[in-house]
Symmetry: C2
Subunit: 228 residues, 2 copies
Amino acid sequence: MRARDKTQKSAVREENERAILKAAEEVFAERGFRGATTGVIADRAGIPKANLHYYFPTKEALYRRVVEHIFNVWLDAANTFDESDDPVEALTAYISAKMDISRAHPMGSKVWANEILHKAPVIQDYLETTLRDWTASRAAVIDRWVTEGKIAPVNARYLLYMIWATTQHYADFNHQIDTLNGGTPLDDAQFEDAKKTVIGIVLAGIGAKPPAAPSPAPAPAEPARAEA
Amino acid sequence: MRARDKTQKSAVREENERAILKAAEEVFAERGFRGATTGVIADRAGIPKANLHYYFPTKEALYRRVVEHIFNVWLDAANTFDESDDPVEALTAYISAKMDISRAHPMGSKVWANEILHKAPVIQDYLETTLRDWTASRAAVIDRWVTEGKIAPVNARYLLYMIWATTQHYADFNHQIDTLNGGTPLDDAQFEDAKKTVIGIVLAGIGAKPPAAPSPAPAPAEPARAEA
DNA sequence: GTCTATAGAATGATAGAC
DNA sequence: GTCTATCATTCTATAGAC
């Protein structure tokens, strides 16, 4: 990494690349790889089309950069799984992080979904290495929780798929959710409710006690301090 | 509608339309609307491209027919929700039907996912009418189950989203699932296991007793040691 | 580093012979 | 009802002036 050419890439280049990548993520999400045109991406980034090809030689190279960025975001969230060895804490943190990503970066999730839908022409190698390893190791953790009696017997992989599917649904299918919500996106309170519902069903579903016990017995007058 | 031209559409037409629609569903699923070309669809249907345009005037008309077919398949599965007013029976039937669809018609599910991902340019009206009505009425049923104490308090809509997301994941993301399964699709036993896992987590997650327990009255010594 | 003009390829749709 | 030949359009990518 050279100090000038790579790290401080003339500031102009840096800014333009950022704008292009942001625009590209949106357009690829909305229209798929084939449906997206470099012309539309350039327009949304506020530069002429020829400049886009100056920074990113081909449409595919640009797409690859977008997908790689998304995979890194996913990896960051995946790490929250390891915050604790307690099933309730670990799964609460993981589901919460994945839900937050779906709300903050729905476009990235959609690009990822599109990529998988079309048989992962670009990121198949990630699936076979990083994702496969991550899944195997975390499935092992879940299996151990089962043998330790911390959760009910459950197939670890199908549990993970359920968490992925449900959390990413709030990004990938947000248009359907918005429509069923009267045409407007879920507000913060609704989204928190959705998050709680997902966490609650998963934890109860595998026989792990939820963190913020809604106290079926003597409830304190004070709103229970939810230990995140 | 004339008895000959419409109902018995010359058998040749019928056969060709069937072949085209089948090929179109596959290609649209694999490559999206823009990525799919009429040339590829015609090739896979075994006819010249010009013939495709003879049967379906435009690419969009063909796409619309494919999406409408998929929506009807979904509606059939949706009806299983009403097979019983018991939460365990109704949800078991519904989830089971949706999982079966994901296994039998993954292409249709993918076309649907693509359509929603791209903001439903073709089937927005279905979302706002049929789907919205169906969701509202079934959410009301679930709400009633809650007030009757049949299931734990849960937000009905977010529960439905969870079921949709999880069941459709086995179609839409089947490429990822296959990859994580060592590169081969889930076999029948694995798929049954996945189905059981999903049903088990959802039912336990909302505090409904799984159907496996045949003896409710004579309390067993162990509290529901459900075999995975 | 920027941008106009355009080359080159792919694709949706049609004309018109059979 | 079928199919070859072809048009018109759209899009990626580049050349070359500034």
